[in-house]
Amino acid sequence: MRRLPWTPIAAFALIVVIALLAPWLGLANPVSMDVPHRLAGPSAAHWLGQDEFGRDVFARLIWGARVSLSVAVAAAALACVVGTTLGVVGGFLRGIAEILALRSIDVLLCFPPLLLALLVVTLLGPGATTLIPVLALVYLPGFTRVAYAGVLTARSQDYVEAMRVLGAGKSRIMLRTILPNIGGPLLVQFSLAMAAAVVLESGLSFLGLGVVPPAPSWGLMIGAARATMTQAPLLLLWPCLALTATILVMNALCDGLRDAVDPHPAYRPTARRLLDALAPGLLPTPRAVLDLRGLTVEIDTPHGPIHPVRDVSLQVFPGETLAIVGESGSGKSVTSLAITGLLPGAARVISGAACLDGTDLLRLSEDRLRNLRGAAMAMVFQDPGSSLNPVHRIGDQIAEAIIAHRPMPRAQATSAALALLQRVGIPDPARRLRAFPHELSGGMRQRVMIAIAIANGPRLLIADEPTTALDVTIQAQVLDLLADLKRERGLALLFITHSLPVVAEIADRVAVMYAGEIVETGPTAEVFLNPRHPYTAALLRSAPVEDGPAPEGIAGVVPPPTALPPGCIFAPRCDRAAPVCTTTHPALEAAGEGRAVRCIRWNQP
């Protein structure tokens, strides 16, 4: 458990203690009248003045807190317990329990809450003890609905199924597994209900349906002060202030508790610094479509800045596929996001240059970058389902992509879309133009994404794990399509993947990344046949090969970007590490024709 929210706890405890200690605080009698001094202002004897019957306002405020708070807390607690029980039982057991629990609550929801409260108070008669069940009834549906929705989400989680596999009974799963996981929203609901109950109690008392005069309550005080508002406006202020302060403290308390019971560390984004002055990049090689030089990305975290991508340089030539391969945390996706200018808010490029046909993408304004994206530079992502707009037809989305960069009549754009669908191998393209994304399979959607990507004749196509979500027979089709397009249009294809076999199938050259750096690069066939970096070699040994030896894992884990080792970043896991490797950070050095490796021992036996 994390730190408890001590400030709101102390504030809430103070309010409760003051209210509980009211009889012993030596306050004036809250109901004894002093009519000659009615509406008197603050004085030494009456700190907050006297009300319309000359009663001490300070005493009434504190005695009123007893009534208002106990009603609110009791009502919210009652609603929380009953509502959560109904919601959890209904959501977990389903069937008849669900119908009984949820439908009865739905009936309650049909009444406006104030009307419902009025109805019950009228039937049972006013008074603090009636108020508790009345308010509980009003806030019951909220708790049931929140709990029910939480259970529906939680019950489909694998960890709930894991408990079933272990043979746990239903009550155990509900109490020990599901309840803690819906605790956060319930606490928020509790704070809302409690705050609202204080207000509604005041409202009902104000209407004469809650606490019976002369017993003090904040609502009664507000009601009475309203009548004399013009003569003594301060009388209205005190109960309202007390009400506001109490509600704020309750909200802060519940928020704090919710965070405290959540074992996950909270992420607090720090303010974004102004984009640092960029170091000028080196002159680009004229032939490369994409020339990336010395890219370094920084992300602010609560533990200080981290650099998920450091000094990454690579070139992609026309008609060539360069694959960036690496495991999670290697920085391969951050690299592609930096090139396309789509880095998330907390991340920024601190040095380097990325030239697309001579234009440095990292120094372009967002407007010019937007013009390039989808035109000269196009992207295909892993999840085609979330990249397409679910409410628009496929044909319209492709036509839209064309018109955004090349204004033309709608009909012409639609016929271009038809030709594109045909090109990417979608059967019956005329009919598919009118289909919605959900009517297509994952492989078809990825083909549509590719059609959109090539719609404006890009020079560079960045494909980030485009086949990872696809089945192997569909993956083979999509890889073939990408290879064909690259050949036929002279595309430069930057292919980002974690899969070595896919690299072997599609890439002309490969760059292997590890913990934010390129550790080895070169022609794919040569790198895979004769890896020069120990990480590349270990990675190849860990990939299962059908007719090869059993795969070997790499001991240890990728170092977190917050704690990179001082020397070679792979040294702690490297089977060839020498003492010097833990002190000297190796540079990426040339290692034969078109190859480079970041290891000081690559040419030592």
């Binding site: 989680q157 694998d158 960890y159 199924e161 894991a162 408990m163 079933r164 596999v165 272990l166 043979g167 746990a168 009974g169 155990r172 020990r176 597994t177 803690p180 996981n181 605790g183 959540d262 074992p263 996950h264 560390p265 495991e327 999670s328 059967p427 399979s441 492989g443 078809m444 089945d471 192997v472 027979t473 569909i474 993956q475 083979a476 089709q477 073939d480 974690h498 899969s499 070595l500 076999p501 896919v502 072997a504 199938e505 895979f528 270990a538 990675l539 190849l540 860990s542 990939a543 299962p544 090969v545 059908e546 007719d547 059993a550 795969p551 070997e552 894992g553 790499i554 001991a555 884990v557």
Partner: protein
Amino acid sequence: MSALITATGLTKHFPAGGFLGRGRAVQAVTDVSLTVARGETLGLVGESGSGKSTVGRLLLGLLPPSAGHVTFDGADLATARAGDLRTLRRRMQLVFQDPYGSLDPRRSVGAQIGDALSIHALLPRADRAPRVAALLEQVGLAPDHAARYPHQFSGGQRQRIGIARALASGPDFLVADEPVSALDVSVQAQVLALLADLRARLGLAMLFISHDLPVVRHLADRVAVMYLGRIMEEGPVAAVFARPRHPYTQALLSAAPSLHPERRRTRILLQGEPPSPANPPSGCVFRTRCPLASSDCAHAAPPLQGAGHRVACFKAE
């Protein structure tokens, strides 16, 4: 080897969804029969929607079958009494695919591993902590990790925790549902080595569900290939991988990308996509994508037949 778990004619149709149930029932699994012997690993491969995960859950009794039955160590799951079912539960466990979703984020790792011990009252309370520590060590984690929460671990470590949780009740049979497909390749190999080691040391029988053929080749003794809810081919891994007899298995093996493209079998690129399990083709379900299909294939579903190496195809030589 004696059969530990046997499924006979297992069928699972999920009821129709849609407004007023007017959609078609999804035929997730149709007429699947298989056995897993003690200490044996059966690999179950297939693409998404082939029903392989559903078979795993049917074997564990987590889903009631629409037809057919499952026998575990001689006891029929469908007719077992509640008390017996609890004991059976203890003896069969599941390892999940998603190392993030399968652990309760709000409870310590030790508490979750200890659940099986307390649910089945396997050990007195005082002995549970040492047992949890021993389980953590068994899967290559440190005993003091028990007090930590899932988010403090990497994906590979979480998967080890999931395995420790599954082993806590001392099972004889483990269903591993894509246990390594969410992991990085270097971590994948570590977890596979752990599973192979545990299997050998504890004599576990395993149903290893995966879409990754090379992984199955290394871990399984036998392999069953599923397509659209049916088993297309089944046999010893060496035989199936070296001489696949069903055209689907042949296509699947040739489509898998290989580290050595030059050594790969001739690629059979399947056309189109798998049909919907709500509306499977008549006869052989693979015939709409099959390069060998003829009109005979539309009339009847080919039975899975053969000795040792079984195949469901009229055209298999």
